[in-house]
């Protein structure tokens, strides 16, 4: 029995981690003007943030084609996979899971779909847990139960520097945020249970970081965490320092530069945190 894990590029897993755990990452698309790029492959993270503010039109994103999933599933089956767990960005925020479902319907390969109800490293940490369990020889049912439990403990926070990108994304009921673009406001958003929610609207950077740490800390102890940023390396290292007491001993989570497909909706200079609470 060989179980393989498939996810999509919005998972933000560092390439080395994905390769080591044999996680297959299907790239989403990032569209800039009339050009379309495979997320993280044809358009690297560094390049994207370097050029982001110069793009004539704001970038948009698209789910991978269902055919890309079919292809990946069949290739993994050819490599000897008997079971595939395909785990993806929250279906309430993206069409990726639906593309995967359509892709799975077009093949004989047995695919178990899983909605991470999260994104970025929230999804990444779940995929990582699943891959580690598979490497340990756990059964499909075990791994699916593990995911079912972990997904309820997975939180992603992001402190945005600007609202523009999220507003344009159409991913949120903007009016319900009760927040316009008239004032300079740093929104602290949280993704949990597949829903992106406004947690705080903050005016100053100092208070914003304080609030974010407060919100992260009040949830409890984490078994896995990741730090995220969209081209704000200095700030994220500072955040790591401030969050030191919440980082599980022995783990040295990388400060992940968020992939273009997610960065397109978040905008530059955002700080983020993904964590799975201890059971």
């Amino acid at each position: 029995m060989t179980i393989r894990i498939v996810t999509d590029s919005t998972c933000d897993l560092p390439t080395a981690v994905a390769e080591q755990l044999q996680i297959t990452v299907v790239p989403a698309y990032v569209n800039i003007g009339d050009q379309s790029f495979l997320d993280g492959i044809e358009l690297t993270r560094a390049q994207f943030y370097r050029e982001l503010e110069g793009y004539p039109t704001p970038p948009t994103t698209a789910a991978p084609a269902s055919g890309a999933f079919t292809q990946v599933y069949e290739q993994l089956a050819d490599e000897g996979a008997t079971e595939i767990i395909s785990i993806h960005v929250a279906s309430k925020l993206s069409g990726v899971l639906n593309a995967a479902r359509l892709g799975a319907e077009d093949t004989e390969v047995k695919v178990s779909l899983f909605d991470s109800q999260s994104l970025s490293m929230g999804l990444g940490l779940l995929a990582q847990m699943a891959a580690e369990a598979a490497a340990d020889g756990r059964s499909l049912d075990d791994i699916m139960a593990l995911l079912d439990s972990a997904v309820r403990r997975t939180y992603v926070f992001a402190l945005l520097d600007t609202l523009e990108f999220l507003r344009r994304s159409g991913r949120v009921n903007w009016a319900q945020f009760g927040i316009g673009t008239l004032l300079r406001i740093k929104p602290l958003v949280r993704v949990y249970g597949g829903v992106l929610e406004m947690q705080e609207k903050i005016r100053t950077s100092k208070k914003a970081t304080e609030k974010m740490i407060e919100r992260i800390a009040e949830l409890g102890q984490y078994e896995r965490v990741a730090l995220l940023h969209t081209d704000a390396l200095e700030e994220v290292e500072q955040l790591r320092h401030q969050l030191a007491h919440l980082i599980p001993a022995g783990s040295n989570p990388p400060a992940v530069l968020v992939t273009p497909a997610v960065g397109s909706h978040v905008g530059p200079r955002a700080l983020g945190f993904a964590g799975v609470l201890a059971p």
């Binding site: 319900q176 009760g178 316009g180 008239l182 004032l183 100053t204």
Partner: protein, 570 residues
């Protein structure tokens, strides 16, 4: 309590032992008339050298709303008339003094509820109840205000009731005591002494009582310029405010009827049948007619048939109301401020079960900011333009949810908002913001789907994390909070308190920013008013930047009247 005692029309019979509904109606009408006549005098008693809420106008509109409820009635039961007056005052209350006045009527009505007519003992009790209710109407009662005036007036009534059963005696004593108390208000409230004025709300109440007593004495026609013996003198300084004479009203008809052997009672009855808000006073030679009618021709024709008319005034009341609401008397010569701020379409459509925020704002730009932050509705109002309880109440009723938070954004509107809250069956919380930046700061913690109490609490907490600055011009010379200002000088307020003054705007800026302690802040929001151009505002912003290079400056059109700039520092 016989009919004979109560049917006499003014001057009320020598022995006035009971007062029925008809008489109370006439008393209220006379009080309203006299308050209206002296409205500008009350407005002139303005402590703050900034365009402030107009106490006279606010009390007048409150009292008019009260009287409108009974003007068409023919109710003999005094308890029922008082009830109507109370209801009308509650709905029309605007401004702090208006709210307190409505509480006075509420107390009176409560005490008189089951009385067909009242005696001196009843009135003394009712005045006591009125005073008690008025005190309960404010969070922190302050002596030296209308509260002290009504309380001491009520005490005097108790004393008078022990000495005589004559209501005339009692009203004379009460008025005299109220006038004495009013004269003492500067001794009780230092801010009044500093400003050299008596309390404006107390003065309004005295005019109200004075009008009633004048009616009792049949003297209501001796009203030229309000300069009648017994009227509390208004300091000359305070009279520097614009004086436009009698108020004039659309669909409102006033004239003086002159003739021989005129029958005041008959003229009153005839004219009264034509419309409402009737005030007919005078004698067999001269009668002053004031009435609101559908057809102005009717009362005028009537006057011509019975004598010679002069001083004819016919106006549209609606226009007059708008003028009161939208024109700043202290800014004469300025074009009227814009009417209600149009709703920016950026705001949310509130759904039932969510929290609807109602923000009181002056200026379309500020309104847009509130809407963009999730306010469900705006009520136009601010300095010189306090919205009524009814306007806020209406906004509460109109927002399609039962969970409401009101942001008054002005210290003079907090009580009105609370009165509107008390009237509404909805769950309403007033977050007592005193400035626009406080309200905007509070909006940041609005969670439309949150728990009402919890959200209100966090909004309250957040509202205090901003330092507010306001720049306007002094409407008169005064020394307040240790700051001396000359009329016409620029003044800067910090969190609503006078902090700095200067003859030039440029010279005001640096001390104001210092007083706001902006060096500890990251962001300064600069809302420029309707009298300031974008270019001027940009220059102003650059000056701030030069003083505080690390400060992030956010320039926004507030479009607010009177205030050149409103600043919020965080």
């Amino acid at each position: 309590m016989t009919q004979e005692d109560t049917v006499q029309e003014p001057p009320i019979s020598q022995k006035w032992l009971t007062c029925d509904g008809h008489q109370l109606c006439k008393l209220a009408q006379a009080g309203l008339y006299w308050l209206e006549h002296n409205c500008q005098h009350v407005n002139a008693l303005n402590v703050f050298p900034v365009p402030d809420g107009d106490t006279g106008t606010n009390m007048l509109l409150t009292m008019r709303s009260a009287y409108n409820r009974i003007q068409n009635g023919d109710e003999a039961h005094v308890g029922k008339v008082a009830q109507e007056l109370s209801q009308g005052a509650l709905m029309g209350a605007r401004g702090n003094s208006g709210v307190i006045l409505s509480q006075i009527w509420r107390g009176l009505a409560k005490s008189l509820k089951n009385k067909a007519a009242f005696t001196t003992v009843d009135l003394a009790e009712a005045l006591q109840e009125a005073a008690d209710t008025a005190y309960k109407g404010v969070m922190r009662p302050v002596e030296g205000t209308i509260l002290t005036v009504i309380r001491e007036g009520a005490q005097e009534a108790q004393d008078a009731a022990e000495k005589s059963q004559d209501l005339r005696f009692m009203t004379e004593r009460v008025l005299e005591r109220c006038q004495q108390t009013l004269a003492r208000t500067p001794d009780l409230l230092p801010i009044l002494k500093q400003a050299g004025v008596v309390d404006s709300g107390g003065q309004g109440l005295v005019y109200l009582f004075e009008g009633m007593l004048r009616y009792v004495h049949g003297q209501l026609d001796e009203t030229e310029n309000g300069a009648v013996a017994g009227v509390t003198a208004v300091p000359a300084q305070a009279l520097a405010a614009p004086e436009e004479g009698d108020l004039e009203f659309p669909y409102d008809v006033q004239f003086i009827l002159m003739g021989e052997d005129l029958d005041v009672l008959k003229v009153r009855a005839d004219i009264d049948a034509m419309g409402d808000s009737t005030v007919i006073v005078g004698d067999e030679k001269v009668i002053k007619v004031h009435i609101h009618v559908k057809d102005p021709g009717e009362p005028i024709s009537y006057g011509i048939r019975h004598g010679v008319i002069s001083d004819v005034v016919v106006e549209n009341m609606q226009m007059q109301m708008e003028e009161i609401i939208h024109t700043a008397p202290s800014q004469a010569g300025q074009p009227g401020s814009p009417t209600s701020a149009p709703l920016a379409d950026e705001g949310p459509a509130i759904e039932p079960g969510q929290i609807g925020v109602i923000a009181v704002t002056a200026g379309a730009g500020l309104g847009r900011v509130f809407r963009s932050l999730g306010a469900a509705a705006l009520v136009n109002g601010g300095q010189t333009n306090n919205p009524s309880t009814e306007e806020i109440f209406q906004a509460i009723q109109d927002v399609p949810t039962n969970k409401i938070i009101i942001l008054p954004n002005n210290k003079n509107i907090i009580l009105t908002a609370e009165a509107a809250r008390d009237l509404s069956p909805k769950d309403v919380v007033v977050v007592a913001t005193r400035t626009a930046p406080q309200g905007i700061s509070a909006m940041l913690s609005l969670d439309l789907n949150g728990d009402l109490e919890a959200v209100a609490e966090s909004m309250q907490a957040l509202s205090t994390q901003v330092v507010s600055g306001e720049i306007t011009r002094a409407t008169r010379s005064v020394t307040l909070d240790g700051v001396a200002v000359e009329e016409g000088q620029y003044i800067g307020l910090v969190d609503g308190r006078l902090a700095v003054s200067a003859s030039e705007l440029d010279a005001l800026l640096s001390p104001l920013l210092e007083a706001m302690a902006v060096e500890e802040c990251e962001i300064l929001s600069l809302y420029y008013g309707e009298e300031v151009s974008l270019a001027e505002a940009e220059t102003f912003g650059e000056q701030i930047e030069a003083l505080y290079p690390d400060l992030e400056i956010e320039l926004l059109a507030g479009n607010q009247p009177h205030y050149y700039y409103i600043l919020g520092a965080e």
